[in-house]
């Protein structure tokens, strides 16, 4: 055989081989065509149902075995195009027909079935998650549709707030000296709201009558940072109203069993962040200014 003839044979056989591979593995064919730019790559629109509900599901539950690092069954689910292409045995999603969609078939199998997806050892999809995928397939497995009627709401996982100690320290710096000094003067009364916050909580209720207006006035330097304050059972009076009114960050205030009156209530009406006030066992008769602002009022004439 001459060299050119041989080259031709090789080219032919190779082409035939690739052709057969493409024929029996449509996923491979499409991925090659798409990579070569000979076929349009289907994309999902940002904000679409696929992007907001389906893709996150795939990402958390499927990509470890069907993604860029590993593609079991030659199936990748880390992009809309890949998911629609399917894997070794062809397309796994048939738009409009969940029963014919191998992906849906596998995730609906009982956990004990060998072919169930995710396989045993990995957490199974919840019924809601399976429903979401089913509804999406029924609605055409599209990358465009934004909402699907009847789709169960997504389950939000709680995100624990992160904090950086250096940032917290910086935030605490301006009042740090005042806080330390007042903590020494009133042990057990002042504490930071949390380890990741510069806001303060004040609880003088256990001090009882020994804590009075003068003591409360001493807290003035901290006025902008106090979010919770409990002066129940102390000996404060309306004289402390201006100090309280100056605590602009107050969210929760307790003044139960104190000698305050409606005057203090009026002074508090200006506190924008205030969410709840306790006036139990006080002489307050009218807490309307606060209630009008939507503040939860305990006691204060509505017993």
């Amino acid at each position: 055989m001459s060299a050119p003839a041989y080259a031709a044979c090789v080219a032919l056989v190779t082409a035939l081989g690739l052709g057969i591979a493409a024929w029996t593995h449509p996923a491979f064919l499409h991925s090659s065509l798409q990579t070569m730019g000979l076929e349009a790559v289907p994309k999902a629109a940002p904000g679409s149902f696929y992007v907001t509900r389906i893709a996150p599901l795939f990402e958390t539950r499927c990509i470890s075995c069907h993604g860029p690092t590993r593609a079991k069954g030659q199936l990748r689910l880390d992009s809309f195009a890949a998911a629609m292409r399917g894997g070794k045995d062809g397309a796994v999603i048939v738009p409009g027909d969940p029963k014919a969609s191998e992906l849906f078939h596998r995730i609906s199998l009982p956990v004990s079935d060998d072919k169930a997806m995710p396989p045993s050892g990995k957490a199974a999809l919840t019924p809601d998650e399976v429903t979401v995928i089913k509804l999406w397939i029924v609605a055409g497995a599209s990358g465009e549709i934004r909402t699907i009627k009847g789709a169960p709401k997504p389950v939000l996982e709680v995100k624990i707030p992160e904090s950086d100690p250096a940032t917290v320290q910086k935030q605490r710096a301006p009042l740090a000296a005042a806080v330390t000094q007042l903590q020494a003067r009133f042990p057990g009364v002042i504490i930071y709201e949390s380890r990741s916050s510069a806001d303060l909580e004040v609880d003088a209720s256990l001090k009882g009558a020994t804590f009075g207006d003068a003591d409360l006035a001493a807290l003035m330097p901290l006025k902008a940072r106090i979010t919770r304050a409990d002066f129940s059972s102390t000996s404060i009076t309306d004289a402390s109203a201006p100090t309280l009114a100056a605590m602009t960050a107050l969210v929760r205030l307790r003044l139960a069993r104190t000698a305050i009156t409606d005057k203090t209530v009026q002074a508090l009406a200006g506190l924008k962040s205030l969410k709840s006030v306790s006036l139990v066992d006080t002489r307050v008769a009218d807490a309307a200014p606060l209630k009008a602002r939507g503040v939860a009022v305990y006691g204060g004439g509505d017993e």
Binding site: S64, T69, R70, K72, G121, K122
Partner: protein
């Protein structure tokens, strides 16, 4: 009547030949077992491959003349010249192009076996040394293991095409040579003086590499 012994010269020793064909079977077996999910078979064929490849490396240092790296690894200039057809030299063992092909294949297959040791399948099955590295590293190595597989496919194709060229165009049956160990006299240089290392050395080296593979296996046994 011509003497078959004189017409066909022994160039390949038994260990090299057995090595070659066993590798062919094991690579195919590894591919098939991975594809079908028979991971225990995959583990065994991979470890055997490891032992054999390590053996081949040692044999390339201590084996018969034609098996030694120093025999078939030539400087790049020579390879280019050979491919261009400028050279008329005959080679008993691998020619310059073939020689580098062999080296690359051994290297790539070894890389595949080694990456396999640290891989995981995301579920229950891990390579015997996978616990030596973090999950993250293991997953990345698994990715490499997958990529190298594609490279192996390409190399195998290249190898078959090259062997086919010699067979069909140059009338030089390399396949039979790798089975019988003999090439026709017209393909080998005159006045050959090949040394063939004794079989027991091969067995010793194989014992050593099998021991290494066994040790690797036991790292993965809890």
């Amino acid at each position: 009547m011509s003497d078959p012994q004189k017409e066909h010269v022994l160039v390949w020793d038994i260990p090299t030949r057995i090595f070659h064909w066993t590798i062919v079977v094991l690579v195919a077996l590894s591919w098939f077992s991975a594809d079908q999910g028979f991971m225990r078979v995959h583990l065994w064929s991979g470890l055997t491959l490891l032992a054999l490849l390590l053996f081949r490396v040692l044999w390339g240092l201590f084996g018969s003349t034609t098996s030694r790296f120093v025999d078939f690894l030539h400087p790049p200039r020579k390879v280019v010249a050979y491919l261009r057809g400028h050279e008329k030299t005959l080679y008993a063992g691998h020619n310059p192009a073939g020689g580098w092909m062999v080296a690359v294949m051994i290297g790539v297959l070894l890389a595949q076996a080694l990456t396999g040791l640290f891989s995981n399948d995301g579920l229950h099955f891990t390579g015997p040394l996978a616990l030596w590295v973090s999950d993250d590293v293991s997953t990345r190595i698994t990715g490499l293991h997958g990529t190298i597989f594609n490279i192996i496919l390409v190399l195998v194709w290249l190898h078959v095409v090259a062997v086919g060229f010699y067979l069909l165009v140059r009338n030089h049956n390399l396949v039979r040579a790798m089975v019988t160990g003999r090439k026709h006299a017209r393909h080998v240089p005159e006045g050959l003086n090949l040394s063939f290392t004794r079989l027991y050395v091969a067995l010793l080296l194989l014992g050593l590499t099998a021991g290494i593979a066994a040790w690797v296996f036991f790292q993965g046994v809890p």
